[in-house]
């Protein structure tokens, strides 16, 4: 077992446990965006940053394994500030505030991020409703990779692909011909994990809060 301290409380975990899992097991709330417990940790969004004593800067808790003697501060001010800035940048590219029920909205609330301070280009609406159950709203994609990993690691259909770079980064089914023309098996794991409703169930689009 590995002994470490999280937010001042001593705890012990199995070797291989990530700081995120250890912290959550110890009752600490760390916001995440690209993390889904059904998938391998990805470490892309930098929202789960925490402070570790002796580290040069905040570390992503989802991909950092616990080490003996580690002293973790999940409320490290630098880590929280950077995570908030990351979320604010993500929001600044969206055409509007995230729908209140989404994970992105919950994370923004959690980090105290409101209206982004940075104006600039926002994604224009681009929808694909050719599938009877699943709908793409590409302008809401934040390239967290969760849908692609759900498709690969949970279902194994390998139907979704990350495309584009920078501001153009997005996700497509197959060769961008829609779900139906891809290897999609309509399991819906992508919509289930999507934190922004970029992929969502058509039946939910009809339900207003």
């Amino acid at each position: 077992m590995i002994e470490l301290t999280i937010d001042g409380v001593a705890t012990s975990v199995e070797p291989g446990t990530t700081v995120l899992d250890a912290a959550r097991a110890a009752g600490a709330a760390i916001p995440t965006l690209c993390f889904d417990g059904r998938q391998d940790p990805f470490g892309a969004c930098r929202v789960c940053l925490v402070g570790v004593e002796g580290a040069p800067g905040p570390v992503p808790s989802c991909t950092t394994p616990c080490r003996d003697g580690m002293v973790v501060d999940t409320r490290d001010p630098t880590a929280r500030r950077v995570a908030g800035a990351v979320v604010e940048l993500v929001l600044s590219e969206l055409p509007g505030p995230p729908a209140p029920h989404t994970e992105l909205a919950a994370v923004a609330r959690d980090l105290g991020v409101g209206e982004p301070r940075w104006p600039g280009a926002v994604h224009q609406p681009l929808h694909d409703d050719r599938h009877p159950y699943l709908s793409f709203h590409h302008e809401l994609c934040i390239s967290c990779g969760r849908c692609v990993r759900a498709c690969d690691e949970v279902q194994g259909a390998f139907a979704l692909t990350a495309t584009g770079r920078g501001f153009e980064a997005n996700v497509v089914a197959g060769l961008d011909a829609g779900f139906r023309e891809s290897t999609c098996v309509s399991c819906g794991a992508c919509a289930d994990t999507c934190p922004t409703d970029a992929i969502t169930e058509i039946s939910l689009l009809e339900v207003l809060p």
């Binding site: 098996v185 819906g188 339900v207």
Partner: protein
């Protein structure tokens, strides 16, 4: 998190296949708007498929039965519950008085809850007085149940789906999990991607074959030969577990003597599987530290399906690969509660937990609980019911949640049987091919509208909770069965399904510790001890047979009931499609129909070219007993000499082609081997078979 888009979110268990996904049904205005997988579902671990997640709109489909219907002339008229139930009680009572209780038979449904099935068998046994009760597991996994009981003692998987993650090797035999059990299929696929050594054995090159290390394509009906070949190599190469055989089994000598005759070369002759592939399969299984075997209806729906299940048990016993994490035998149960409907005693020869109706002590315990005398003779199995109806011995049937006119084999015979009955009650959520012959139709509930429990393919009893109310005047099946029983003079004394489970637990040692409270979110895998301890793995120390030893069987390969000949040169195999579920009454009433609208006959390019059949062209498929028309799909997923289609569509009526051949021990129909003649349509004058003229 409270989501203001929904009025409520109800955790329940999926009503589709036997995987038993735990689901979160999100409800608004008494309709399900969305279903998500429960993150803590033990069988699905936060995943589900397009049936469980999306195919729920059938529950509010305008064709739902919303009031009782009574036959009037060539149609039906709406009736009140009072009138319909009174008519059912009067007619069944009159037939019982005139022809005896055995002139009446009932079918329980493997889509219904344990409590529904328990009430149904109690209705037949206690209110009517007959053991003529059966359920649709007759036509799918009855050979599995029969043979697992003979080899190991209990009728259920020896382990759990989680064993797939712990196994070093897995044989998938006669199953297509990525389509028929998608969440288990995804689990197998992910395990294979991580290094599980996967062997697939199926006449079709199923999707999982692309992820395995070895695929065998035996001729339909020759599974037994392949398993003998594997056993032969295991013994010959010393891959058996001598200590396990000596301490925990009996019958090895006789079994090995039979397998000795099946050299890989002899097996190649019988099955068409190259001898080297038989050797490789045996080595992959035998050399793995932990190896599991999963099988489906490609094993059971044969003339000698029960033998094949025994031979599966044989190789597990020979290698000691049973009763340990990662070494499990996993029958892929087809319907959500096909395990439970049989556990509940909805069978002609057993009470709950497979205890014989002839067992005096058991029968007396039920007599004492129900306050009636019970017959000790076994009742009729489903095919026997239809034979008896045609012969005039069976006068009435009560069919609950089953569309026998579409899903049972030898459709013309089934229809003749239904037409021969004096009185037919159907209890269903939609009109079906079967309800066309009914005298009374009682509107019932879908799984989204009822409470109770389902038991999945891992023996896991899981709670079902109502998310919405039944439409119109439709009632829950449990309520209907209680009402009919009361009208027949037998008050079951239950208020809720939970009351029924209390009685089941009190009367069934294997369910002794089952309470709804203990089932909670994760369910329990039977047998459940009085203190609530359940059994993830069976037979860790001993088998549940007298003496505690597992029994190997000495059963030679026997030929299937049908074979290709000059007149019927191709072998038809039937199965499922990902998007649909059995009779399709539910999935065809959802947008799954948009994803898969019309079925087709898969045929190999060589056969298609020889027969002048082009991709997408309509073909005539004729067997010894029937004929259908269906578009062809030319694909090399199937071997030359074989064709494949599903049975989801009443427009196709695939089961018109399937004859009366069945498993010799359990009467499970031989859906998987039907000799057919396939021709392009223009050569045959277009005439559709005439059926269902009422």
């Amino acid at each position: 998190m409270i989501d203001s888009r929904f009025d409520t979110t109800v955790t329940t268990t999926c009503g589709y296949c036997g995987v038993g996904c735990r689901l979160e049904a999100r409800v608004r205005d008494d309709a399900v708007v969305s279903i998500a997988p429960a993150l803590d579902g033990p069988a699905n671990e936060g995943h589900t498929c397009l049936k469980g997640r999306f195919a729920h709109r059938f529950s509010r489909h305008r064709e739902r039965l919303t009031t009782p219907l009574i036959r009037e002339g060539h149609g039906f008229r709406r009736a009140s519950w009072e009138e319909a139930v009174a008519l059912v009680a009067e007619r069944l009572g009159a037939i019982r008085a005139a022809d005896g209780p055995d002139a009446i038979a009932g079918l329980a449904s493997s889509r219904a809850t344990n409590e529904d099935c328990y009430a149904m068998q109690r209705l037949m046994r206690a209110a009517i007085g007959t053991n003529n009760i059966d359920n649709c597991s007759r036509v799918c996994h009855s050979p599995t149940s029969f043979s697992l009981r003979k080899a190991f003692g209990l009728s259920g998987a020896t382990g759990s789906f989680a064993d797939i993650d712990r196994a070093d090797a897995l044989i998938v035999l006669g199953a297509n999990p990525t389509e028929a059990h998608p969440v288990a299929g995804a689990r197998i696929k992910q395990a294979a991607l991580r290094g599980l050594r996967l062997v697939t054995i199926d006449p079709r090159r199923i999707e999982l074959a692309d992820y395995g290390v070895l695929h065998l394509s035996p001729r339909p009906g020759t599974n037994a030969a392949v398993l003998h070949g594997i056993a032969h190599v295991l013994v010959r190469d010393g891959l058996i577990d001598e200590a396990f055989l000596a301490e925990r089994t009996e019958g090895f000598g006789e079994a090995a003597a039979v397998s000795a005759g099946y050299t890989p070369e002899a097996v190649e002759e019988i099955s068409g599987v190259p001898a080297a592939d038989v050797e490789a399969a045996a080595r992959i299984y035998g050399e793995a530290r932990e190896a599991s075997i999963a099988w489906g209806l490609g094993v059971t729906e044969h003339r000698h399906g029960s033998d094949v299940v025994r031979l599966i048990c044989n190789i597990a016993l020979m290698t000691g690969k049973v009763g340990r994490p990662g070494s499990a035998l996993l029958p892929m149960r087809g319907q959500n509660n096909v395990q439970g409907s049989s556990d509940m005693g909805a069978l002609p020869d057993t009470f709950t937990a497979y205890r014989s109706v002839g067992d005096e002590a058991v029968a007396r315990s039920f007599e004492a609980a129900w306050g009636v005398e019970l017959p000790r003779e076994r009742g009729m199995k489903i095919p026997e019911m239809f034979d008896a109806a045609v012969e005039g011995r069976l006068k009435a049937m009560y069919i609950f949640g089953e569309d026998v006119a579409q899903t049972d084999p030898n459709t013309a015979h089934v229809v003749a049987a239904l037409e021969s009955l004096d009185f037919l009650v159907c209890q269903d959520i939609f009109e079906t091919e079967t309800t066309k012959y009914a005298d009374v139709i009682l509107p019932a509930s879908s799984f989204l509208e009822k409470s109770g429990t389902f038991t999945n393919a891992e023996r896991r009893i899981q709670l079902v909770a109502p998310a919405i109310t039944p439409p119109g005047e439709a009632r829950t099946d449990f309520d209907i069965l209680l009402t009919v029983s009361r009208a027949l003079g037998h008050d079951m004394g239950f208020e809720t399904p939970e009351d029924a489970m209390r009685e089941i637990a009190a009367l069934t040692p294997d369910f002794a510790g089952v309470t709804y409270e203990r089932l909670g979110r994760a369910g329990l895998q039977w047998p459940v001890a009085p203190d609530g301890t359940d059994a993830k793995i069976l037979y860790e120390r001993e088998f549940s047979l007298p003496g505690g030893r597992g029994r190997l069987a000495a059963l030679p390969y026997k030929e299937p009931g049908d074979a290709a000949d000059a007149d019927f040169p191709l072998i038809l195999v039937t199965g499922r499609r990902l998007q649909h579920y059995n009779a399709g009454t539910m999935t065809r009433r959802t947008a799954n129909l948009d994803l898969f609208a019309e079925d087709f006959l898969e045929i190999h390019p060589e056969d298609a070219e020889r027969l002048w059949i082009g991709d997408g062209e309509l073909v005539s498929v004729r067997s010894r007993v029937g004929r259908i028309e269906i578009p062809a799909k030319v694909t090399d997923r199937i071997e030359p000499g074989h064709v494949f289609t599903a049975f989801h569509f009443p427009e196709v009526r695939t089961n018109l082609l399937v004859g009366a051949s069945a498993d010799v021990h359990t009467s499970c129909p031989e859906y998987k081997v039907v000799a057919v003649d396939v021709r392009p349509m223009p050569e045959v004058p277009a005439e559709r078979p005439v059926l269902a003229q009422v």
